[in-house]
Subunit: 328 residues, 2 copies
Amino acid sequence: MSIRIGIMGYGNLGRGVECAVKHNPDLELAAVFTRRDPETVKILTETAKVCHVDEAEKMKDEIDVLIICGGSATDLPVQTPKYAQWFNVVDSFDTHARIPEHFENVDKAAKESGHVGIISVGWDPGMFSLNRMYANAILTNGKDYTFWGKGVSQGHSDAIRRIDGVKDGKQYTIPVEAALESVRNGENPELTTRQKHTRECFVVAEEGADLARIEQEIKTMPNYFADYDTTVHFISEEELKRDHSGIPHGGFVIRTGSTGWDNENKHVIEYSLKLDSNPEFTSSVIVAYARAAYRMSQEGQKGCKTVFDVAPAYLSAMDGAELRKHLL
Amino acid sequence: MSIRIGIMGYGNLGRGVECAVKHNPDLELAAVFTRRDPETVKILTETAKVCHVDEAEKMKDEIDVLIICGGSATDLPVQTPKYAQWFNVVDSFDTHARIPEHFENVDKAAKESGHVGIISVGWDPGMFSLNRMYANAILTNGKDYTFWGKGVSQGHSDAIRRIDGVKDGKQYTIPVEAALESVRNGENPELTTRQKHTRECFVVAEEGADLARIEQEIKTMPNYFADYDTTVHFISEEELKRDHSGIPHGGFVIRTGSTGWDNENKHVIEYSLKLDSNPEFTSSVIVAYARAAYRMSQEGQKGCKTVFDVAPAYLSAMDGAELRKHLL
């Protein structure tokens, strides 16, 4: 029997989960829950229902794992603990500073109801965290570096679009190649914000807007751009649509460290991602952890987990013997 | 109280484990076991004992995890199941084809005695396997590539040294840059053995030996060199010692795959290692898994495990809350 998946929220991430479920034959999409009128939401999976969020509780026996696809700012802090009352849940909560608090809330709800909740799943937090953790456990004497990009930052793109006179815009975060090389060479550089990443903006201005003022406002915006070398390109709406409609992302997690009685030998561990679609990759990670949540729950485990707590084998559709034979 | 480690076998790997234990304050080296006369074996750790292998059984209450540092051909198939009778054990068994059989033997012994045995720990098998597995679970529709090097292959170096007229020699396995680039670009190439790696040999010949014959013998040696583009350099004993006495290694695990309803988006996951010392890095991985073996045993788990079965958090000296706060 397939593992029955529910999707809570049908935006980019929800659609990514739907696609990922299609690529995992042991999973099956049971329902998509939306805050909109279900009649107005068209999904791709013909065999799945579209339901209003208020109907979710009633469907607790028809769904094995509910994947919560809301935003980290306001949706997930409420939704993940709430739905852990009735479901095994997985989310991609990515506000790093608030993870401990979110963990406690989900843990409490999931333990009370006897479910498994896996939070902060995706690539950062998620696969990047895992690689940081493995590398730290191996090279105890070393230094961590994380670079992001080249990729679209939704938050920075939004910030551009809020500027007066801007019709649309897209921002790319780009790692500085020289910094990456220095890290890979084991030079252990201390890098400032400016030395690690540059920011490139593609902006569609309103007709007659003051381009110099817009550029200045972007480049001096505190937190978002002021600490970076930022490039601004003004382009047409057609160009933005044609050349910048994708949501690529990626990045690098590198740990350098030394071993030996007197730290005489150096090592570099590097993990990198190059993603055409940030939400679809995130969804693919989430779906593997949904399989894990189901299996852990079947074994009687309960409470909140993160990627650190999930034995890798739970993620794979293969069984232990196949894994050892083919992938070890 | 520290986790008390025993080392079985004091070659390159055993010495690496000794160094790695030094870099992990929650671990402590209790004893090194050797087949040699213990009086003749000098170790670096002043507080640890050197004992004959025959004394190991008697010391079962003084050691929490015994790390078996023998060879995969003849030592580990016997030693790991044997010592699992009395200890939690970790080994680096690396004969991929015989892993299923080794797993069964260790599993039987460890279950009967109530211990945990973690086998095939290191970087390949080990960290490379983990990365293959995670990447396969995420990108279910994709293709795997593993490249090794640049690094010293002990087996190929040994093969060179067995040739008549060769005094000493060292062989480097080198990944072909063009093949790596093609994979990274998502071209999904089908690569022959020759297209993936080249082999570079540094040979010290006996005085008066027929160099052309030696070179020919190397380049045509079946299994080891015949299927590769091989370069042979004749150098002096001093040069070999000066420039080639290290044991570097490393490599790349890459999975490329697609997501989306119609596989319209491509992704590249890459993991790579650049290691000054193959045995010291392997040892550092093993020591983290020794911590895991101890903790899993304390929780009442038993039987044989591989890296696939060990939740990442067990490897770290940090507790769950610290991990979530600092590394997630």
